[in-house]
């Protein structure tokens, strides 16, 4: 028997596998095809103060071993999330859930976090300061140490829940931004959000994505994500949630050796809706294969 339990910012989860925000909705689509209570937790669709339709379509482009998305934070807004989505979510998921929030000002981030603070099922708040698909706010908050620290401080004042800051890879030095978040009171760091990318349609000779650029994710980005998690692990003491291109139990172990105490699975859910289930089910065998008895003991083992 191996132990797959990990402790994420004071909350024990059954395994380190967490579907990433934006690839799992509020869980229902997946609850129709498997029991999502096998998950460690999941990070729900990025929520903002106001309802957002998001960007024009096409929002999706194919890439070698990956994809580009430019959804633009489509969500029903915090009031509808609390009133409609959370009660439904509760009916199919019985564990603490990770809320993912975005904003266009410090006030908006704080407002959404304060509203979620009263919701008992919210275990963690993952603060997205790295969305590449919105024109103001979003990634702007994640590309300087000062801005990242100011968001961290604002949300920490607004909630008592553990706050995990989700970082952008589209920066010169991700470790220094992670350190700034830690110093400002963050309880954890998650990384990486998508890499800014682009495709051009040879028939139209124009960008495939209506918004021209979008976030590149999928298996192709795994080595980049792994490297950044490794760098951030060197810089901070708080827990790290590693993500970017993970598609197998082997990748989970590799990401944890780099320094992640839990991992998120994103694009893989879209091409294989059973991806998280398959990864969770194959994790014990993969651990046995590499002589790992307790998954939490390998965190940062590559350092």
């Amino acid at each position: 028997m191996v132990n797959t339990k990990v402790n994420l910012c004071g909350i024990e989860i059954d395994n380190p596998v967490i579907p990433a925000s934006g690839t799992f909705g509020f869980g229902y689509e997946f609850a129709e095809i498997y029991d999502i209570n096998i998950l460690g937790t999941f990070s729900f669709k990025g929520t903002t103060k106001q309802e957002r339709f998001g960007n024009p379509t096409p929002r999706i482009a194919e890439c070698t071993a990956g994809m580009i998305n430019s959804i633009g934070l489509q969500n029903p807004g915090i009031d509808a999330v609390i009133k409609e989505e959370l009660p439904k979510l509760k009916s199919c998921f019985h564990k603490p859930v990770m809320a993912n929030v975005s904003g266009f000002s410090l006030e908006e981030y704080a407002y959404v976090c304060a509203a979620l603070d009263k919701e008992p099922q919210i275990g963690w708040i993952e603060v997205n300061i790295s969305c590449p698909n919105v024109t103001k706010g979003g990634m702007d908050f994640g590309t300087s140490e000062e801005a990242a620290a100011s968001v961290t401080k604002a949300v920490k004042k607004a909630t008592t829940k553990p706050v995990i800051i989700k970082l952008s890879p589209n920066v010169t030095n991700i470790a220094s931004i992670a350190s700034a978040c830690e110093a400002a009171g963050a309880d954890g760091i998650s990384l990486i959000n998508t890499l800014l990318g682009m495709r051009i349609d040879l028939r139209t000779k124009k960008p495939v994505i209506a918004n021209k650029m979008g976030g590149f994710s999928g298996r192709a980005i795994f080595p980049v994500a792994l490297r950044m998690v490794y760098q951030v692990k060197k810089a901070v003491k708080i827990p790290i949630v590693g993500m970017g291109g993970i598609s197998s139990a082997r990748d989970v172990i590799e990401m944890m050796l780099a320094g992640a105490c839990a991992v998120q699975i994103g694009a893989e859910n879209l091409i294989n809706p059973f991806a998280c289930k398959e990864i969770i089910e194959s994790l014990p065998d993969e651990m046995n294969k590499w002589g790992i008895k307790d998954i939490s003991e390998i965190v940062g083992g590559a350092h």
Partner: protein
């Protein structure tokens, strides 16, 4: 299972492996691919499958043209990498499909004389629709529009179902010269169903005199409602083409 009030139509999503029974070029750049396997999640015409292809990351959504107890037929036009890979599939090869996707056409509209309007490869999902309408006792009128004679497919198959089949070609090399929408004015119908390129469906919306249903397409991430990649605005809020669509009712569409 949990209750999801946004879940309209559709069925249980299934992933399974299918065998290519045949793959034939049936018109210019158009292939008919017959697959055998589990079709239990396909319950209505207008639904689609999402196909995993070697070397491509995203699955490719393709509407179902026909299905029976243990096989389904896809009609594809070669446009990009995904359809190129599909066109190259050989008999006996395997494909990984997600099925049970999309809401499908709603046949319960009480129409006595439905009109089906297809444009190019958009004629594909209308075939199963036509079959089921005929099985239900109505003989729809079918208008199939193509650019030229070389692109015409399934003319005989549609004619075997209903006597009222009109072919149009833009250059006049086959059937009636003109667009599919040019012949609608002379047809008696009390409801319509259409699938084709968006400019054609926009023209349909101006030419028709009744309510009806439109089948849309969009680039998709997942095909089952998770990624919000294919959202569109409608009069009743935002909808996902893959989940609340691909069929939208005329009164709901913002052109």
């Amino acid at each position: 299972m949990c209750i999801n009030d946004r879940f309209i139509g559709g069925t249980e999503l299934k992933q399974s492996i299918y065998t290519v029974e045949s793959n034939k070029l049936i018109a210019s750049n158009v292939y008919e691919i017959v697959l055998s396997g589990d079709v239990s999640s396909i319950v209505s015409p207008g639904q689609f499958v999402n196909i995993k292809l070697d070397g491509l990351f995203l699955r490719r959504p393709i509407s179902v043209a026909d299905y029976s107890a243990d096989s389904l037929t896809l009609l594809i036009k070669v446009i990009g990498e995904g359809t190129e890979a599909l066109a190259a599939m050989k008999e006996g090869e395997k494909l990984d499909l997600l099925t049970g996707l999309g809401n499908g056409f709603d046949l319960g509209k009480g129409s006595k004389s439905p009109l089906l309007i297809g444009g190019g490869i958009g004629c594909a999902p209308l075939f199963m629709l036509c079959k089921q309408l005929c099985d239900g006792g109505t003989k729809p009128t079918v208008v199939l529009g193509f650019n030229d004679k070389s692109e015409i497919f399934y003319e005989e198959q549609f004619k075997s179902l209903t006597p009222n089949v009109i072919i149009t070609t833009v250059d006049g090399s086959g059937g009636v010269k003109g667009f599919a929408t040019d012949v609608i004015a002379n047809i008696d119908y009390d409801y319509f169903y259409t699938c084709g390129p968006e400019p054609m469906m926009r023209a349909v919306s101006k030419a028709v005199v009744t309510d009806g249903q439109y089948s849309f397409e969009e680039r998709m991430g997942c095909g089952f409602g998770a990624c919000m990649g294919c959202s569109c605005k409608t009069k009743t809020g935002s909808k996902r083409i893959c989940k609340e669509g691909p069929i939208l009712e005329s009164g709901d569409i913002i052109w």
